[in-house]
């Protein structure tokens, strides 16, 4: 027995407790041990954390499958954490996002650039054009190579070199150059470029991210894109386009992505970047200069405006000029007196017009009359102006074809060939016409005057003699009638042509012996005998009137004696105007 047991035995109270203990441990020994272990786990902070940690992921997964409680709890925490992280040091977040952000943004930017070499060849092909000659002169003048001048003139821009530079060391990681580009040692240029960027950054206190983005010198620029580990610099001749800048950024992002490890562990070993130049080559862009398109739309627009204004001005001016021309025309037109003109919406012309004057619409032209919608307020009057007087004479005298009327002062002169009847009427009427004082027909030849005169003469000269107290026409006398018939026909035709009415009286006479009654009858018989004969021989009946007048010529001392000369038949030609003589021919 141990010392402790002996002490227990010696103290009865203690002995009871320890016995209980023993009993408890005998009965609940295993449970007690696990209770202790549990208490140690829960009670100790470290142990508890370790226990929870072992099931945290599984518990999270189970809860996440049940509801979005965890998400709701974590969201604000992550937000705050991210904000704090960015505020503290944005670089890791920027670095993480950099390779994916740019491409995502720019993927939609379309790139279409003209093929540089094609433009170049085109320019060289055209080396005999006047433009090319000018370039050659420029090249000679400036001392630049001709190809360079051509490039400068045919390209908007051309990327001549691309440098991929390690940002930290300024060491050149990759380099690509365009064909024919003049290139200095890229390693040293790369270093100097970095130095210049550093220099500017130091001098003007700008951060590396905001540092030099472009260096420009005349027609040359260096476009710089800065990534977390590397810098992309493009030497551009001309004006870099937005698409080039996008291409540079995109390329830099791609290289950061594809060479992420090599870039972050770079120690001067160039092996991982052996092929990086291939990634740079797509940046060697060139954009051909578009033929300068004339801004024809603007030109056409301006031309239209100018033409419109000019047209309006001319129109206005022409309109005013035309109106005054119209009035002048009217004032100069015979038979018009313009008293007043005005505008009351429409144009109004007040004045006088001879009824024989031309229609005013014809004077100014029907087109213009319609265009101006002129209201005419014209009172009639008699114009003494020669054209109107002449017109009036023509209207009233109705000169036949072949007769011309002219006015000389107040004398109306007629010329030409006129029927005698018209001439007679004209002589009567002309002086009655307003504006005409005298009628001069000296230049008018009566139509068929000669034929008429000859016929008349023949007729008036023809005399047929008779035996005493006889009305028989002797053969010797009949012979005379042979010339009478044709003369009658001529007279008839000429009379018709001259619009004259002629009648031929066959006048029979007798000598004194015998009663006057007998003589009258005898003379009538003699006339009718001749008429009968003439009618029988084709003379126009209408013309002939037989009339006996007895012995009215038997006057004087031997009046009662027989007289051979008195026993005769004569022809008397009587002329009268057509209307007067025969109203209905």
């Amino acid at each position: 027995m141990s010392l402790a047991d002996a002490r227990v035995k010696s103290d009865p109270a203690n002995q009871t407790t320890s016995e209980w203990q023993r009993l408890r441990s005998l009965l609940l020994g295993a449970e007690q041990a696990s209770l202790h272990a549990l208490a140690a786990k829960v009670g100790n902070r470290d142990n508890l954390a370790r226990s929870v940690a072992s099931v945290l992921a599984e518990a999270t997964a189970i809860r996440a499958g049940q509801d979005d409680g965890i998400t709701r709890v974590l969201a604000p925490i992550i937000n705050d954490g991210l904000q704090q992280s960015v505020r503290g040091n944005p670089q890791p977040v920027v670095d993480a996002l950099y390779p994916i952000m740019g491409p995502a943004i720019r993927r939609s930017i379309a790139e279409a650039l003209a093929d540089m070499m094609q433009a170049f060849n085109h320019a060289v092909e055209q080396s005999l054009s006047p433009r090319a000659l000018k370039w050659r002169i420029d090249a000679w003048r400036t001392g630049q190579p001709y190809a360079q001048v051509v490039l400068l003139n045919t390209l908007v821009y051309r990327v001549e070199q691309v440098f991929l530079i390690h940002r930290e060391t300024g060491l050149l990681l990759g380099h690509a150059q365009a064909e024919h580009a003049v290139v200095q040692d890229p390693d040293m240029v790369s270093g100097m470029l970095t130095a210049i960027r550093d220099f500017v950054g130091d001098s003007f206190h700008v951060s590396q991210e905001d540092g030099v983005e472009a260096i420009r010198l005349g027609g040359l620029s260096v476009q710089v894109r800065v990534g977390p580990k590397a810098i992309l610099a493009a030497v551009v001749r001309g004006n870099a386009s937005e698409s080039l800048r996008a291409r540079l950024s995109e390329t830099l992002e791609r290289i950061h992505h594809s060479h992420a490890v090599a870039l972050s562990r770079f120690d001067g070993d160039m092996a991982p970047f052996a092929n990086v130049a291939r990634d740079l080559e797509p940046c060697l862009l060139a954009q051909a200069r578009e033929r300068r398109r004339s801004p024809w739309r603007a030109y056409v627009g301006i031309a239209l405006v100018v033409a419109g204004s000019a047209w309006w001005l001319i129109e206005r001016h022409e309109s005013a000029a035309e109106w005054s021309a119209i009035l002048t025309q009217l004032e100069h037109e015979p038979g018009f007196v313009v008293v007043e003109t005005g505008r009351d919406g429409a144009h109004i012309v007040r004045g006088m017009r001879d009824p024989l004057a031309r229609d005013p619409r014809n004077v100014i032209g029907a087109e213009r009359a319609r265009a101006y919608e002129i209201v005419w307020d014209l009172k009639p009057y008699l114009s003494m102006e020669p054209p109107l007087v002449l017109a009036r004479a023509r209207l009233l005298l109705k000169p036949p074809d072949g007769v011309t009327l002219r006015l000389a002062g107040s004398t109306l002169r007629a010329s030409g060939i006129a029927p005698e009847a018209w001439l007679r009427e004209a002589r009567r009427r002309a002086p009655l016409i307003a504006g005409i004082v005298t009628f001069d027909d000296g230049a008018v030849d009566v139509k068929n005057r000669e034929a008429l005169n000859r016929a008349r003469q023949t007729l008036t000269e023809a005399t047929l003699y008779f035996e005493p107290a006889s009305d028989a026409v002797s053969d010797s006398q009949l012979a005379k009638l042979d010339t009478v018939v044709p003369s009658l026909i001529v007279l008839r035709d000429a009379a018709e042509a001259a619009q004259m009415a002629y009648s031929v009286d066959i006048v029979g006479r007798a000598d004194a012996p015998g009663s006057s009654e007998f003589n009258l009858r005898l003379s009538q018989s003699r006339a009718e005998a001749v008429r009968r004969y003439l009618l029988a021989h084709g003379a126009p009946a209408k013309l002939l009137h037989a009339r006996g007048i007895g012995a009215i010529d038997a006057v004087g001392p031997q009046a009662n004696e027989a007289d051979d000369g008195q026993r005769r038949v004569n022809f008397e030609v009587i002329a009268a105007s057509a209307e007067a003589a025969d109203p209905a021919p």
Binding site: H166, R167, E168, T169, G170, L171, L172, Q184, D185, D187, M188, G191, M192, A195, I196, D198, F199, G201, D202, D267, G268, D269, M270, A271
Partner: protein
């Protein structure tokens, strides 16, 4: 090929550029020093089987009072501190620059170059001082830009040292 950025730092007119000039055919003119403050040259060498391209950033000479441009030092594989043996204060300036560089860039491989070895009899920098520096672990190289002595060695030393640093 391994590319290494090497910086040349030192006080004004200690002969940094002359040393570089001795070593490389330069593309840029001296005026870069006064404008940008740095001139960059290149030298391809072979260290054993390894081709190495040295990009030598020749930083404009600094005096005691003008601050070093730390950004030019960024990413350098190492640097050469150049001092003019005939002018003791250029060593002080070089060591001061060294402190500035260590403060801004952290420890980088470097070597102290004492130029103008051809004028060794006029040196102000005393042998005891040189010994002291060597005891402190500073790698000391001597050369003469004028005669060309030790120039190639100093650049190649730097290159091989840098390569060893990279390997370790």
């Amino acid at each position: 090929m391994i590319h290494l950025k090497l910086c040349m730092v030192g006080a004004f007119s200690v002969g940094k550029s002359s040393l570089v000039q001795r070593y490389v055919q330069s593309m840029f003119s001296e005026k870069y020093h006064t404008t940008v403050g740095v001139k960059i040259d290149k030298k391809d060498i072979a260290l054993g089987a390894t081709p190495v391209r040295l990009l030598i950033w020749d930083l404009a000479g600094e005096d005691h009072f003008s601050a070093l441009r730390p950004t030019f030092m960024r990413g350098a594989a190492g640097y050469l501190l150049v001092a003019d043996g005939t002018r003791a204060h250029t060593l002080d300036a070089a060591l001061d620059l060294n402190r500035q560089i260590e403060a801004s860039q952290g420890p980088l491989p470097f070597a102290l170059v004492l130029n103008k070895e051809d004028l060794i009899d006029q040196w102000e920098i005393t042998p005891p001082r040189i010994e002291m520096l060597e005891r402190r672990g500073v790698k000391l190289l001597r050369g003469s830009a004028k005669s060309g002595a030790g120039v190639q060695a100093m650049f190649e030393h730097f290159a091989s040292h840098s390569l060893k640093e990279r390997a370790s």
